[in-house]
Amino acid sequence: MIFLKKLDNLISEKKITRNKMLKDLSLGTNSFVNWQERNTIPSGETLSKIADYFNVSVDYLLGKTNNPAPPDSDITFDDFTFAFYEESKTLTEEDKENLLDMARIFNQRRKERQRKDGE
């Protein structure tokens, strides 16, 4: 199940345990068993709590996007510069989408790094 896979990755990236996350979010100790065995996803409210906890979007948790950044941190072409390997004269729409994705991911990494530095 994509949701559980994403969640386990986030837990491991944050170097915590499933139990620690459940405790921090005041979620039931059987939550993982429910999600896993019944093949369900949490309610919208719980999903939002989990997304906020890891500073990712709900869509990312559900595997609908590869961009972990929450929607309020969206980025525009004015916010970054770039260089493609063996860049051609014109960028395709796909190239532009790729650029925005990369900028979003990078911005997310920068925020994580800043947060860690501040701890």
Binding site: F84, F106, R110
Partner: protein
């Protein structure tokens, strides 16, 4: 290839973020936000260690020289940036002294120099072009 390890060490030393990402039409890209740089590499498109070194060292050159541009930048600017990124990668990983040293040891063919210096042949050819253009060869 020791040069590849050195390259990744440089990226780490310079706090350059390295990400593996599927990129539609390119092997790699560099992104700059404020003073920070990230290199995105589509490792599915990289077939050999030589290729990996050529691609990542070029992107490292963009980061080190700050040669990134906005969407819709003139192609002349992009070309100059490409050249500066390549030149920096060459200066860093194949300085002219090393090139000369290989020559003095009797290695004349590109593949021989590449083998002696444990670098990709394409990278050695690029170094030759740059040093020749500078009138050193």
């Amino acid at each position: 290839m020791q040069a590849l390890t050195n390259l990744y060490n440089e990226l780490q030393k310079e706090n350059i973020v390295l990400e593996n990402l599927n990129i539609a039409n390119h092997k790699a890209a560099t992104i700059n936000i404020e003073k920070d740089f990230a290199v995105f590499v589509d490792y599915d498109k990289i077939t050999t260690l030589d290729d990996e070194f050529n691609v990542v060292s070029h992107e490292y050159g963009h980061c080190a020289t700050g040669t990134t541009h906005k969407v819709c930048s003139p192609y002349e600017l992009i070309s100059r940036h490409e050249y500066r990124a390549n030149r920096h990668a060459i200066y860093k990983f194949l300085p002219f002294e090393k090139f000369k040293e290989a020559h003095y040891k009797g290695y004349d063919e590109f593949w021989e120099i590449a083998e002696y210096l444990d670098l990709p042949e394409k990278f050695v050819r690029l170094a030759y072009d740059i040093y020749a253009k500078e009138g050193k060869l």
